[in-house]
């Protein structure tokens, strides 16, 4: 049987096992903590430029003026930072062409809802962002009555982002795409 290296004999196997166990715990804790303590995530970066519960059309991506790193530059974006702790949120977005998407994200970046435009499904999409059942139980007010036609999306967090992405076919289409994207909106909706 090969002899363990000298440094290992000096340190002692109990120390090595203990260090490995503690290292494992630190590894798990650090990994789990990053989405909650990181100051660099998308929600934090966008917070200053997005007023609450209002859809904002972002300027076209350009060098040094990108809203986020690695954000597809051949698209225009409309974003809405929401908080549904007081009111619900009504969202309307045009799905004009293939590639358009309407997506909802938690502050940690989880995409809990996405609606793509498809050949067979174009037009305007409307939905209401409501708290998830767990969140709603924390809230004393009576839930709002909804019609059968209304699409409700349960948000797992009070805060989040609505993102409408509109791919550009080319510079010649920018004005047309921008005009269509300006029709996207998000507005607070009373609970009762």
């Amino acid at each position: 049987m090969p002899k363990p290296p000298k440094w290992l004999r000096e340190v002692g196997w109990r120390t090595v096992i203990g260090a490995l166990l503690l290292g494992g715990i630190i590894h798990i804790l650090a990994t789990m903590a990053v989405p909650f303590v990181s100051s660099g995530h998308a929600f934090t970066r966008l917070q200053a430029s997005l007023p609450l519960n209002r859809m904002v059309l972002l300027p076209p991506p350009a060098p040094g003026k990108q809203a986020l790193p690695f954000l597809a530059p051949d698209a225009l974006y409309a974003m809405c930072r929401y908080d549904i702790s007081v009111d619900l949120l009504a969202v309307t977005a045009p799905m004009a062409e293939t590639g358009w998407t309407l997506s909802l994200h938690t502050p940690q970046g989880d995409n809990f809802y996405v609606m793509p435009a498809q050949e067979t499904r174009r037009g305007t999409v409307s939905l209401t962002v409501v708290p998830s059942a767990e969140r709603l139980s924390e809230f004393a007010a009576t839930p709002r009555r909804v019609s059968a036609q209304e699409t409700q999306v349960a948000s797992p967090s009070w805060e989040g982002l609505v993102v409408v992405r509109a791919p550009l076919k080319g510079l010649a289409w920018r004005a047309e795409t921008e005009a269509a994207l300006r029709r996207a909106s998000c507005t607070p909706l009373k609970r009762n």
Partner: protein, 183 residues
């Protein structure tokens, strides 16, 4: 020694798994790599930490897959001293986009103000293929300007069928990144 080993090893290995990824959280196809559960609420902790730490906002990988390439198909680091070509064919996706970034995810300054091609904006050959050339200086056809010492390519494939195939581990091969010449 004990504390150094534990803290250094724990944090170092966490950093590696979050930044570089492993077979647990990423899938590769030639030079292209994707975080296979990116954007999904049920993503593994490494993917969630990678997304948060890098300020990314990916769509759920049930709809579209985002690939990144830092090297060409022969393994050489992508840089603007070289010229590359990518032939987009047989993707069959609803929508795709290919963009060039610097090493930090910033757009590369160029006079043409061109940063990407997508399935709607690219010029195609009569047989439907799209040949994209990446080079510092202008080239005929679909020229995607690059610059700086490090180049990262981002390929977004929007197609639920493709996403499902990636999830099951049998996605189609992605187009190779061929290095043509270097200065």
């Amino acid at each position: 020694m004990f504390v150094l080993l534990a803290v250094g090893g724990g944090l170092g290995s966490a950093w590696y798994m979050i930044e570089a990824g492993s077979r647990l959280s990423t899938q590769s196809s030639g030079p292209w790599t994707t975080w296979s559960a990116a954007g999904r609420p049920d993503a593994d902790p490494y993917t969630r930490a990678h997304t948060a730490r890098n300020g990314l906002l990916p769509l759920a990988s049930t709809l579209e897959i985002t690939y990144q390439a830092k090297a060409d198909s022969r393994g050489g680091r992508l840089n603007s001293g070289c010229e590359y070509t990518i032939v987009m064919e047989n993707l069959g996706a609803t929508w795709w986009s290919l963009a060039a970034f610097d090493g930090q995810g910033g757009l590369i300054q160029n006079a043409a103000e061109r940063y990407a091609f997508n399935s709607d904006s690219v010029m195609r050959e009569p047989d439907g293929r799209a040949i994209i050339t990446l080079a510092r200086d202008a080239r005929p056809g679909n020229w995607l300007p690059i610059g700086g010492s490090r180049v990262n390519l981002l390929l977004i494939v929007q197609d639920p069928a493709w996403a499902a195939a990636v999830y099951e581990g049998n996605a189609k091969a992605l187009p190779p990144i061929q290095r043509l010449a270097c200065r």
